[in-house]
C-alpha cells in the first residue's frame, strides 16, 4: 500500500466559512453608492474596465438615489417594481410551502434576487426577448403573466402551457417573449445571442437578454455566448447572476477567487458592468444602459449582478449542510425589497402601512390564484391532460413510429 502524499501543491478553493463558523464577508468590498462613473452608452469598452471590478450602486444608506447611475425613473415604475418584487417573494414562499405539502414535485425560490429580474424586465421593452435561467420568475411576474398560468405550470395540470412535460419552474411563455427554460445550465445564453443576431439580421431593433448563474459561467456555452456576441456585435445583454452559491459550491469554485464574473467580458472586448444586484435602481439603470447601447448598434454588454441566494438551492437542497445559516442575514448588500421600499418611503411615495396592505393583498391574490390553479388539477389529482399528448410535439407532426407507439400505449 502506497502512502498518500501529505503535501500537495494543488490549490483547492475554500469558502470563508462553513456550518458552525461565523459568516465572513470581510473580503467583499462595497463601494459607496454613486461612486461608479456612468459613461455614454456608445463608449469604447476599453475605456471602462473599472466598471467590471467596482459595484454600480445607486441607493445609499440614507435610501437616496445618488450618483450618475441614478436615472430619472418614474415613481410609478418604482412602485410597480416594488409590487412585482413582493409578488415574487410571496409567490415563492407559497409555492415552496405547497411543495412541502406534496402538491408540487419540486420548487426553486429566488428570494433575495428579485431585483435582478424585476428591474431588468421593467427596463426593457415588450418586444425584447428573455432567455432566463430557472431563478428569474420575476421576469414573468413583471410582464404580468397570469399567476394561475404560472401555478398551472408548476402543477403540471390541465392548463399547463408546457403540457406537463417540464418540472415546476421551467416555464415557457411565448406570448410574453419569455423563452422556454431548459434545465440544462447555460445552454440558453448563446441562444440569446443567436436570437439577437436574428433580430439584427432582420433589421429590427429588439434586444435579447439572457441570464445565467455564477456557477454556470464555467460551461462552454458561456464562452460561446461571449465569443459570438463579440464577433457579430449582437444586440444582447448577458446577465450573470452571482448569488455566491451554486448548490453547495461557493463562487470561488467557479473562478470567482481570481476575478469578478463581469471581468470575463473584458477579454472579449465587451463592456462589462458589475452591479449591486440588490439595488433595484442600479439593476434598472445598468439594463437600460445596455439596452440603449444594443439598440443603437454599439453591441452587447455583460452584466454581473452581485447578490445572494438567501434560501436553499431548491426544494431538494439543505444549505445548512454547507454554509452557516446566518449568512443571509449578514449579507452586506441587504434585501432588495426592503431597500426599494425604504427609498420610496424616503421619497414620500410610500409608507409602512401601504406596504403592509400591499403584502396582505398579495398574499390574498396568490391564495386566490392557487385556488383557481388547483381547480385545473395537480400532478396527482383532478383534471389532467390526456396522456396521449405525450407523443405530440416531439416532431411538428407525429412520425409513424410515434403513432404506433402511442397506439401501443393506449392499448395498455
Amino acid at each position: 500500500m502506497e502512502t498518500v502524499p501529505e503535501q500537495t501543491r494543488l490549490h483547492i478553493p475554500i469558502p470563508s466559512s462553513r456550518p458552525g463558523e461565523q459568516p465572513d464577508f470581510s473580503d467583499i468590498e462595497v463601494p459607496n453608492a454613486g461612486s461608479a462613473e456612468r459613461p455614454d452608452e456608445g463608449v469604447d469598452p476599453r475605456e471602462i474596465p473599472e466598471l467590471a471590478s467596482t459595484l454600480i450602486r445607486v441607493l445609499n444608506k440614507k435610501h437616496e438615489a445618488v450618483g450618475p447611475w441614478a436615472m430619472d425613473i418614474p415613481v410609478d415604475t418604482l412602485r410597480r417594481g416594488l409590487r412585482y418584487m413582493l409578488t415574487v417573494r410571496v409567490y415563492d414562499d407559497r409555492m415552496f410551502q405547497l411543495q412541502r405539502q406534496g402538491k408540487l414535485s419540486f420548487y426553486m425560490k429566488s428570494t433575495g434576487e428579485e431585483a435582478v429580474s424585476v428591474a431588468a424586465a421593467l427596463a426593457l421593452r415588450s418586444g425584447d426577448m428573455f432567455f432566463p435561467s430557472y431563478r428569474q420568475q420575476g421576469l414573468l411576474i413583471a410582464r404580468d403573466r397570469s399567476l394561475v398560468d404560472m401555478m398551472s405550470h408548476c402543477l403540471s395540470n390541465s392548463r399547463d402551457s408546457a403540457k406537463g412535460r417540464q418540472m415546476p419552474v421551467m416555464y415557457t411563455w411565448k406570448e410574453g417573449n419569455f423563452f422556454s427554460i431548459s434545465g440544462n445550465l447555460g445552454t440558453q445564453l448563446p441562444q440569446a445571442v443567436g436570437w439577437a443576431m436574428g433580430a439584427a439580421y432582420k433589421n429590427q431593433d429588439h434586444v435579447a437578454a439572457g441570464w445565467v448563474g455564477d456557477g454556470t459561467t464555467a460551461e462552454g456555452d458561456f464562452h460561446y455566448a461571449l465569443t459570438f456576441a463579440s464577433v457579430y456585435q449582437a444586440p444582447v445583454i448577458m446577465n450573470v447572476v452571482n448569488n455566491q452559491w451554486a448548490i453547495s459550491s461557493y463562487q470561488g469554485v467557479a473562478g470567482g477567487e481570481h476575478a469578478t464574473f463581469a471581468e470575463r467580458g473584458l477579454g472579449y472586448g465587451l463592456p462589462a458592468l458589475r452591479v449591486d444586484g440588490n439595488d433595484f435602481l442600479a439593476v434598472y439603470a445598468a439594463t437600460q444602459w445596455a439596452a440603449k447601447r444594443a439598440r443603437q448598434l454599439d453591441g452587447p454588454t455583460l452584466i454581473e449582478h452581485f447578490t445572494y441566494r438567501v434560501e436553499a438551492h431548491s426544494s431538494s437542497d439543505d444549505p445548512s449542510q454547507y454554509r452557516p445559516l446566518s449568512e443571509a442575514s449578514e449579507w452586506p448588500l441587504g434585501d432588495p425589497i426592503e431597500r426599494l421600499k425604504n427609498h420610496l418611503i424616503n421619497l414620500g411615495e410610500w409608507s409602512e402601512e401601504q406596504h403592509q396592505e400591499l403584502y396582505q393583498e398579495t398574499v390574498e391574490k396568490i391564495r386566490a390564484a392557487y385556488a383557481e390553479a388547483e381547480s385545473y388539477g395537480t400532478l396527482t389529482d383532478g383534471p389532467r391532460l390526456s396522456r396521449s399528448t405525450m407523443f405530440e410535439d416531439v416532431y411538428k407532426e407525429p412520425l409513424p413510429h410515434l403513432q404506433r407507439q402511442r397506439a401501443q400505449m393506449l392499448e395498455d
Binding site: T172, Q191, G194, G198, K202, D221, D393
Partner: protein, 337 residues
C-alpha cells in the same frame, strides 16, 4: 436538367433556398468567402450577401446554439459542421436543446435547423475525418436524420430538410461528393457525369424525407443500407451475380419500414450494411425492427456488415471499410451457399 456532382447539387439546393426565403441563411466554419472546405457553399456569399452566408468561430457548440436562437427568432438556418467527426462539441445543443425544444415548450418554440455534415471514410482521413455518427442521432427523438447517396437525392432531400419545420441532421457521404464509389480504392475515380443520378434539375424540387428507394430490385435477399454503402452493395451484388434487392434508406428517422418489410417478406434474407462501428450502430435498430416485423418470413439470421468496433485507422482504412467481399460473404452466408 444539368449534370451535377453532389457538391454542386447541394450548392444548388442552398442557392434555391436562399433565393426563395429571405429567412434562410447559412453559417459555419469557412463557409463564407471561401465557400467551405469541400466547396459546398462556393459562390453563395457573393451571390446572396455577407449576412446570409457567413463564417463562424470554430465552435460547433456555439454555432448550433446561435442557430437555435436564430430559428426561435423566425429564421431558417442551415449549419455546416466541417466534418461529422467534429459535431461532438455540439451534441449538448443538439440533444438537450434543439431536439427537445418543441416538446419541452409544449409546442410554443422550435428551431427549424438543417445541420449538414460530411461523414464517412475512404479518404485517408484517419480517425478524425471518417466517422459516421448516425447511430447517435437516430437515438435522439426530436431529430430527423437523413443521408443521400447521389446528387439527385442530395438536392431534393436538402431542400426538403431546409423547408422542414423539424430539425434535420443531414449527413453527406463525402466519399460520394465527386462520384459514385464502389468500394475499390484501386479503380480510377468515376465522376457523377456518367451516372443518371448526376442528372439534376436546376430548379426547385423535393425528395421526401422518409421514403426509401429500391435501387436494385431482386428476389434472393434484401440488402438494407444507405450512403456510400449503397454503391458498394450494388456493385457487390452485381459482381457476385446475386439477385439481391438493394434498398437505399435515404432517411433513417423517419424510417420507411413499410418498404423494408415488403421486401423482406419477399426475400426472407437480409444483410444490413453500414460504415459506422457495429455495436449499437443503426444497423442494430434495423435488424431489430426487421425481425420484429418479419420474423415469420426470415429464412436465415439477419447479417450485419459494418465498420469494426475500432476507430477508423489511417493506414488500414481499407481493412476497416466494409468491402464488396464482406458484403458478398454475408450474402452467401444468408443464402446458405
Amino acid at each position: 436538367m444539368a449534370t451535377m456532382n453532389m457538391i454542386q447539387a447541394l450548392n444548388s439546393a442552398m442557392d434555391i433556398a436562399l433565393r426563395r426565403d429571405p429567412n434562410t441563411l447559412i453559417l459555419g466554419e469557412d463557409v463564407g468567402y471561401f465557400g467551405g472546405v469541400f466547396r459546398c457553399t462556393a459562390g453563395l456569399q457573393e451571390k446572396h450577401g455577407l449576412h446570409r452566408v457567413f463564417d463562424t468561430p470554430i465552435s460547433e457548440g456555439g454555432i448550433v446554439a446561435v442557430a437555435i436562437g436564430m430559428g426561435v427568432a423566425g429564421l431558417r438556418p442551415i449549419v455546416e459542421i466541417q466534418f461529422a467527426d467534429y459535431v461532438y462539441p455540439a451534441v449538448d445543443q443538439l440533444v438537450s436543446e434543439l431536439a427537445r425544444l418543441r416538446y419541452r415548450s409544449g409546442g410554443e418554440y422550435w428551431a427549424p435547423l438543417t445541420v449538414r455534415m460530411p461523414c464517412g471514410g475512404g479518404i485517408r482521413g484517419g480517425q478524425t475525418h471518417s466517422q459516421s455518427p448516425e447511430g447517435i442521432f437516430t437515438h435522439v427523438c426530436g431529430l430527423k436524420t437523413v443521408i443521400p447517396s447521389n446528387p439527385y437525392d442530395a438536392k431534393g432531400m436538402l431542400i426538403s430538410a431546409i423547408e422542414d419545420d423539424d430539425p434535420v441532421i443531414f449527413l453527406e457521404p463525402k466519399r460520394l461528393y465527386n462520384g459514385p464509389f464502389d468500394g475499390d480504392p484501386n479503380k480510377p475515380a468515376v465522376s457523377w457525369e456518367k451516372s443518371p443520378q448526376g442528372e439534376v434539375p436546376e430548379e426547385h424540387y423535393t425528395v421526401p424525407l422518409g421514403k426509401a428507394e429500391i435501387v436494385r430490385p431482386g428476389l434472393a435477399a434484401t440488402v438494407v443500407t444507405y450512403g456510400t454503402m449503397v454503391h458498394v452493395a450494388k456493385a457487390a451484388a452485381e459482381h457476385a451475380n446475386i439477385d439481391a434487392e438493394i434498398i437505399d434508406l435515404r432517411s433513417l428517422v423517419p424510417l420507411d419500414i413499410d418498404t423494408l418489410v415488403e421486401s423482406v417478406k419477399r426475400t426472407g434474407r437480409v444483410v444490413v450494411v453500414h460504415e459506422a462501428t457495429r455495436t449499437s450502430g443503426f444497423g442494430a435498430e434495423l435488424s431489430a425492427q426487421i425481425q420484429e416485423h418479419c420474423f415469420w418470413h426470415l429464412e436465415a439470421p439477419i447479417e450485419r456488415v459494418t465498420g469494426w468496433d475500432t476507430p477508423y485507422p489511417h493506414a488500414f482504412e481499407w481493412d476497416y471499410f466494409p468491402s464488396q467481399k464482406r458484403i458478398v460473404d454475408a450474402l452467401k452466408r444468408t443464402l446458405g451457399v
